[in-house]
């Protein structure tokens, strides 16, 4: 079943065309890895889907609801954001809240949930990402991997239909990457729908079911991840994968 369908997303910064017509379909349960060279527009695409950037053109159909992306009113955007979640490269935890507070903040403030109920959900989500016992820790007291897991718990709290991840492990020391990828793999296995911008080739290959390759503001190749890795059509993609595999990232 299609959860999200976007067509013709375009976005300019000044006169630089960063997205030049993106079409995208996300089905429930999809785990879509987005890969591509630096500056190709991966982050911008994700941000457009969450309306952190306002696209210049584009139509989105989310769970049957049509949204004209350039003109969508505040209320529509707010409603959409309650059904999606975003995990940032730099975690962006609320620095004046504990781990638990980070997870419950949106529930209490945006969803007007009673505190006790929110905290129950919060504890459950923290447990899910392996952060039980750290409820009262402040972000500054946590490692990057722990902060990112709290951020994932925060994303899960609103019971979203879709989670967008923008390079969730890129800011982490290598030894901390595994704990975050482990949580994401577990979510994938539970059927969570996710779009993940990543340079983690193992994740794209083994966890995601679809892969998109972006270059220069366009999706230039996509397919099931088995197909994509077994038989990339473009030489460009082949060499990009080879470089990621050799651990050189970009």
């Amino acid at each position: 079943m299609t959860l999200l369908k976007a067509t013709g997303i375009k976005k300019k910064f000044g006169d630089q065309e960063v997205l030049r017509g993106i079409d995208l379909e996300v089905r429930r349960g999809d785990v879509i890895a987005v890969i591509g060279p630096s500056g190709s527009g991966k982050t911008t695409l994700l941000r457009c889907l969450e309306f952190l950037e306002r696209p210049d053109e584009g139509l989105m159909v989310f769970d049957g609801q049509e949204i004209d992306m350039p003109t969508a009113p505040k209320a529509t955007v707010a409603a959409l954001r309650k059904r999606t979640a975003f995990v940032f490269q730099n975690y962006n935890l609320f620095l004046n809240r504990t781990a638990l507070g980070n997870v419950t903040e949106g529930l209490i403030v945006a969803r007007r949930m009673p505190r006790s109920q929110a905290e129950e959900i919060g504890r459950r989500m923290l447990a899910k990402v392996g952060m039980s016992g750290k409820e009262n820790s402040r972000p500054q007291e946590l490692s990057g991997g722990q902060q990112q897991r709290v951020a994932i718990a925060r994303a899960l709290a609103g019971n979203p239909d879709l989670i967008l991840f923008d390079e969730p492990t890129s800011a982490l020391d290598p030894e901390l990457i595994g704990e975050v990828l482990g949580v994401m793999r577990q979510l994938a296995e539970e059927g969570m729908t996710m779009i993940v911008v990543t340079h983690e080739i193992g994740f794209a290959r083994n966890v995601s079911n679809k892969v998109l390759f972006m270059e220069d503001g366009l999706i230039t190749e996509m397919g099931s991840s088995a197909e994509f890795f077994a038989n990339p059509r473009q030489e460009r993609v082949r060499s990009f994968i080879r470089r990621l595999e050799n651990g050189q990232g970009e």
Partner: protein, 221 residues
Amino acid sequence: MTERVLEILRDSFTKILIPGILVTIPLTVLAFSFALIIAVVVALIQFAKVRGLRQICRFYIWVIRGTPLLVQLYLIFYGLPSLGVVLNAFPCAVLVFAINEGAYCAETMRAALESVPRGQIEAGYCAGMSYLQIMRRIVLPQAFRTAFPPLSNSLIGMVKDTSLAANITVVEMFMTTQRIVARTYEPLALYAEVALIYLIFCTVLTRLQRAGEKRLAHVAQ
């Protein structure tokens, strides 16, 4: 020091302290509270880049910071009556001090707001929160924590600046001292005495500031 001077000092201590408690402190507290309100509003307008209003805020800060406080006091108290606007001395002092301090504190608040890592605002949006909710619950508390030491500084500065209100007939500590000096001809001893009382007030505030900072270190961040 002669017996007479000690006698005068002992006598005048409460005479000076009373207007300190009844005038200087209320003037400071009222003016600074209004200044904080002005500061938060003006800083938020600039931070949120509200069109139109933002230019007005910049203009306000430019004018206030570019003119002497004493001139502002004279302008409002002695100048406005010729336009038919007559204010009593005390409310006039509160008004001028609030408007003046508000401009400085607004800049402090703005810098503090800018120092809060921006990503949290986006994270707030993604959690479904509105801009105002994010400001009130996430950004402002952190900004206040950053701004607390410089704002305390401003408060301490204001306690001393209230002595300027003597120029517009507010009978606060300094004016009271001047009157006693006029009667007794002991300027050295009496001005030293009033200086000491200001020092005591500011010492108390410094202590409070330190306690507040300790407390904030636990509460926020």
